[in-house]
């Protein structure tokens, strides 16, 4: 090794990032975020066609979206279905997590894997499966049918954060409550639940988001009577040129930002509670 290269090796800093790497990783980040950010200025166009750059600026598309009955009912359907799914899935998720984390029985690993398994089944397979079974019971085109389909789909996403929270839980707090005379139910509502609440809320938010954004199953089950927002967007993207779409996309982008802030806040609170406990 020459003197120069030895010197260079000695000065080597593993944290150093050279400019080519900055360019590559910066472009990668730009690739991830730029197309969606581009929709924001485009949503302000007032023309009947989607233009880049927009020639007239205004909030016409947003006004149109909020006053359009078909879109209103799609948003309402989506909100109802997603909220119901979040409630059902979170309820089942809390019970299952309590059983899985605290119970002592054989085959726990197997049950855990079973609960997580809907995650890896392709959505189109789930869609066909529900299409066949709901057709048999006459529940196609109903919101209940959608909630039933979304329950197994979202269950892994409620069980995982809730059981993670329960694993980090200091059980001596519960023992203390019991010794001080609280009933089992009181112990759960007054001690256990308040502590795991951020994990539960995180799970509920995940379940809501998944149901709110789901389109493949919705395509088959919505029919024309329970059209959700993603299903309506799908139809419009596929078959029409709709100048409202950038505005709707921008609203969904703002929703994602809001959820991100909320989840971040919950994680922080959870971390604080765990260390305080």
């Amino acid at each position: 090794m020459s003197k120069r290269s030895r010197k260079r090796a000695a000065r080597f800093d593993p944290l150093h990032i050279g400019w080519p790497l900055w360019i590559v990783s910066g472009s990668a980040i730009l690739f991830l975020i730029a197309p969606v950010l581009l929709l924001i200025p485009m949503s302000l166009g007032s023309a009947e066609i989607i233009e880049f750059p927009p020639s007239k600026i205004g909030f016409d598309q947003y006004r149109k979206f909020f006053s359009h009955p078909a879109w209103q009912s799609a948003v309402l359907n989506s909100l109802q279905v997603s909220a119901m799914t979040a409630v059902v899935s979170t309820f089942l998720g809390v019970l299952a997590s309590l059983g899985l984390v605290r119970g002592r029985f054989k085959g726990k690993g197997l049950i855990n894997a079973f609960i997580i398994s809907p995650m890896i089944v392709p959505l189109i397979v789930m869609a066909l499966a529900f299409y066949i079974s709901l057709a048999k019971s006459g529940m196609l085109g109903t919101k209940l049918g959608l909630v039933l389909a979304y329950t197994p789909l979202t269950l892994p996403f409620t069980v995982l954060p809730i059981s993670a929270t329960l694993r980090g839980f200091d059980r001596s707090l519960e023992h203390a409550a019991r010794i001080l005379g609280a009933s089992r139910f009181q112990t759960f509502t007054k001690v256990t639940f308040p502590i795991i609440r951020p994990g539960v809320l995180t799970g509920a938010i995940f379940a809501f988001m998944i149901a709110f954004d789901e389109v493949v199953i919705a395509l088959f089950i919505c029919g024309s009577t329970a059209v959700t927002l993603p299903k309506k967007m799908w139809d419009v993207i596929r078959y029409e040129i709709e100048p409202m779409l950038p505005a709707i996309s921008t609203l969904l982008f703002l929703l994602a930002t809001l959820i991100l802030v909320l989840v971040g806040f919950l994680q922080q609170r959870l971390a604080r509670r765990m260390t305080a406990g």
């Binding site: 080597f12 690739f31 991830l32 189109i124 066909l128 079974s133 493949v216 993207i237 991100l260």
Partner: protein, 270 residues
């Protein structure tokens, strides 16, 4: 016993519907394998199976190429930049799938952003065809998969002792050798976890090929939809679904064998 309600729900809403697909594919009304035989005998369907694997492999590779440098920089950047990068990735990950695909339609279509910019600058006369072909599908799928690649690689990289790189340099390795012989091999577990997760997702992908692909880029999922909705051929659609499910399970069992099912969460949690 608190697990029982969830198990009951899963049996009713997951096991039962999936098994009715399996039964549909095998009985009509007597036991038959004709739908499976038809699938493997017809060149069209074998080709679609091949296209499905091809697009899945290519989009996994391209997500790795885009995602790996991000993870590498995340590991080394100052907290300010690291947080900015993480925010951008997580945000992109949280945005509606439809919106993400739609944004690429706006960018790539004939009168889209890229073509407008290039024609206004006078660089091209005829617009590029960037949509409804393999390029469009690859862009759209890569865009969705990158976060799933970055998070597992980043978490593996966080566990690597950077003094190993220093040692390699002091022992005379060049920068390039240090990367290929030390840093890269140590990050392989993260690459494996991310790539397999993305590959499993890609096999069953439906939305992106339908919106950004042309007729030649339709994957198995898209054909299943056509069979159900347009041709009303439920038994054959069921057989195709079972084939897709088995392909997915084979890849998943590789994942499970080498990485364990618990790692799946690593790809979802942010």
């Amino acid at each position: 016993m608190l697990v029982v309600p969830a198990l009951l729900a899963l049996f009713m809403l997951f096991v039962y519907p999936i098994s009715s697909v399996l039964l549909r594919s095998l009985f009509s009304p007597n036991f038959t394998l004709e739908h499976y035989l038809y699938f493997f005998k017809t060149p069209l369907y074998s080709r679609v199976l091949w296209i499905t694997f091809q697009i899945s492999i290519l989009s996994t590779l391209s997500a790795l190429i885009v995602g790996y440098p991000i993870a590498y920089v995340l590991r080394r950047a100052r907290p300010g930049i690291r947080n900015f990068f993480l925010l951008a990735i997580t945000l992109s990950f949280m945005i509606s799938l439809l919106v993400r695909n739609y944004s690429w339609i706006i960018v790539l279509q004939r009168s889209g952003v890229i073509n407008t910019v290039f024609t206004t600058l006078g660089l091209i006369d005829t617009p590029f065809k960037l949509l409804h072909n393999k390029f469009g599908v690859m862009i759209g799928m890569t865009h969705i998969f990158v976060p799933y690649i970055v998070f597992p690689i980043y978490s593996v990289m966080m566990g690597i002792d950077l003094n190993l790189e220093k040692a390699a340099r002091n022992l005379g390795a060049t920068r390039w050798q240090t990367f290929w012989r030390v840093s890269f091999p140590l990050s392989l577990p993260g690459i494996g976890a991310g790539a397999l997760l993305v590959f499993i997702m890609a096999l069953g992908f439906f939305i992106t090929p339908a919106l950004l692909g042309g007729r030649k880029e339709q994957m198995l999922s898209n054909l299943i939809q056509i069979q159900i909705v347009d041709l009303l051929n439920w038994p054959f659609a069921s057989a195709m679904s079972v084939i897709l499910l088995i392909a997915t399970l084979i890849v998943f069992s590789i994942y499970n064998r080498y990485l364990g099912v618990e790692r799946l969460w690593g790809g979802v949690k942010t």
